[in-house]
Amino acid sequence: MLESGTIITGVIGADVHIIGNSILAYALRQAGFNVVTLGIFCSHEDFIQAAQETAARAILVSSLYGHGEIDCRGFRDKCREAGLGGVLLYVGGNLVVGKHDWAMVERTFLDMGFDRAYPPETMPDQVIRDLQHDLGLRS
């Protein structure tokens, strides 16, 4: 259970959309990860404290209601302060309201310190492959 590592998932901000996050958690468990699910309405502190206590290797943040940019601001800095500078940070969902060039959106989140950002309709398989790669579980 613990060999692939512990992953934290949750939906950030005042966002109630849990279904995509639950599907992702299910797929991650199938792939051998120990998944700690925080559910909806997660604050930065919820994610960070959970990652500290469980020694998580990655935090996967979902945001579906379009306020992802404002909700995620400063998250990496807080992780660094909490001694989690090395934790992997992924974000995905409907990160911004309206139609935007995905490359620009992605750039915004990478600049905020996220290791990866995913557009809508990303399949869990891709996230799992990236995690395995980034955690050195496969080359």
């Binding site: 259970m1 613990l2 512990t6 005042a14 966002d15 109630v16 120990n34 700690v36 925080l38 559910g39 909806i40 309405f41 919820d46 404290q49 959970a50 500290q52 206590e53 469980t54 020694a55 998580a56 209601y65």
Partner: protein, 459 residues
């Protein structure tokens, strides 16, 4: 007639309750000033003599059990990693074992904290940190820090299972009495406090009773089997669930108002009563105890009075005399004082109503309204107790006071976002037997339940 004598060695009074095991009824109660500092058996003999004077046979009882909160009670320190997670889980475990948590520490201990911990000289240290397979650095570092101190208190190791044997090993190498148990927070959303609580109780029986000068009682009189708050918690469970094979009252809250603290116990799931409410925060145990060290009717009477004043309670109890400050000072000075005049009773009731209101505010969960793009959502932290059917008051104020109902009603009202019982039945422990029922439940739960149910008074 088979008689059970149930004793309690409190810091102020030594109490005794006699129960007829055959006829299933309360025979009588008595108390005498505690003599823990000198020879604890003196106060006990005086209490027993008081019982005998009322015609209760006290010789050769069929059962003799005791609880104790004397000499400061069971003083514990809780260590964990994240304050809102493993520190809280450790605190919760210690409180449920009947301890007084004198301090909680999060993350790696600083040098100043280690010095403070040594000065506090707790009876037992609960060392947690990390979920199973989670962080191991904090608990190992804190164990090394404890190993380097002169502390002789037993250390209950209840952290990350992956390193807990190593933690016990390095403490034992340093000559500490370290004992291994299960993690109090094995997964982030699962509290697991029962094993740790059982171990704390074993240590209490084995080591603490002796350390508190109560070993004379054990040798000469009775087994002291648990701290007093644990006995009250056991009685709360008994009242809620009933004896094996029978039903109880359902979910119950017990408010125990004392001279130095106010304890609140609930046996309740605390599940949301609002459809669609979202639960956040650490899950809480069905049997939950909280202790408020700033809400006592004697030791902290001055600050409680200030709160009573600002809450407008002085008018409700027709207080307002110029003598009030002097009266309150006397309460702090003479902690064993029993109210005599109407004014004394009114003052005690006002203080107790504040203690009851504030302590239950802190014990109960709360909701927050959050507006989302889908409308209003309720987020719940802690237990929703609004549908709780029964609240019981115990402590001297309910046994000897005159305003039990008014005091206990404070457990039901206040801030609307606090999830306190809305319309419970209110009962008071007029005969002061809650602790005794908890002790008796260890051996005769059906008798204990019946005697307790027969003697609680609905108000």
């Amino acid at each position: 007639m088979q008689v059970a004598l149930l004793l309690d060695f409190g810091s102020t009074y030594t109490k005794v309750v006699a129960v007829d095991l055959d006829a299933v009824r309360l025979l009588g109660t008595a108390q005498a000033p505690s003599t823990v500092a000198s020879d604890v058996t003196v106060g006990l003999r005086a209490a027993l003599a008081g019982l005998a004077a009322r015609g209760v046979p006290t010789r050769d009882p069929a059962l003799l059990l005791g609880s104790s909160s004397a000499a400061g009670g069971l003083r514990m320190v809780a260590l964990g990693m994240v304050p809102a997670l493993t520190v809280e889980a450790a605190r919760c475990a210690a409180l449920g074992a009947g301890a007084k948590v004198i301090k909680g520490y999060g993350y790696k201990l600083s040098l100043a904290e280690v010095a403070e911990l040594e000065a506090l000289a707790p009876d037992v240290i609960l060392l947690a940190g990390g979920t199973d397979g989670g962080d191991s650095d904090t608990i190992l570092t804190n164990a090394r820090a404890l190993a380097a101190t002169a502390l002789s208190a037993p250390v209950v190791v209840a952290g990350n299972k992956s390193v807990s044997a190593a933690v016990v090993g390095l403490l034992q190498e340093a000559g500490k009495d370290a004992r291994l148990t299960e993690n109090v927070l094995p997964e982030l959303n699962r509290l697991n406090v029962e094993r740790a609580q059982r171990l704390i109780r074993e240590i209490f029986i084995e080591r603490i009773v002796e350390a508190k000068g109560l070993d004379r009682v054990r040798r000469q009189v009775a087994d002291i089997i648990m701290p007093t708050p644990m006995a009250v918690l056991r009685a709360t469970e008994l009242l809620a669930d009933g004896p094996p094979g029978a039903g109880g009252l359902g979910e119950v809250m017990v408010v125990d108002i004392g001279g130095a603290t106010t304890d609140v116990h609930t046996v309740a799931s605390g599940a949301p009563t609002v459809a669609g409410a979202v639960l956040k925060g650490l899950p809480e145990p069905r049997t939950k105890r909280t202790v408020e060290g700033d809400l006592g009717l004697r030791v902290n009477a001055v600050s409680v009075l200030e709160t009573a004043e600002s809450a407008g309670l002085l008018d409700r109890f027709r207080l307002g005399s110029d003598r009030l400050p002097a009266m309150v000072e006397r309460l702090v000075r003479e902690t064993a004082m029993v109210p005599e005049t109407d004014q004394d009773h009114a003052l005690d009731a006002a203080l107790a109503a504040v203690a009851c209101g504030v302590a239950t505010d802190r014990h109960a969960g709360r909701v927050e309204e959050v507006w989302t793009v889908h409308g209003k959502v309720f987020v719940q932290y802690g237990k929703d107790l609004r549908a709780l059917p029964a609240v019981v008051g115990t402590g001297g104020i309910f046994a000897y006071g005159r305003h039990g109902r008014e005091v206990l009603a404070a457990a039901t009202r206040g801030d609307p976002l606090r999830l306190k019982p809305a319309q419970p039945r209110l009962y008071i422990d007029r005969r002061y037997i809650m602790y005794a029922a908890g002790l008796l439940a260890e051996r005769h739960p059906a008798v204990a339940y019946q005697v307790l149910a027969d003697n609680l008074v609905e108000v």
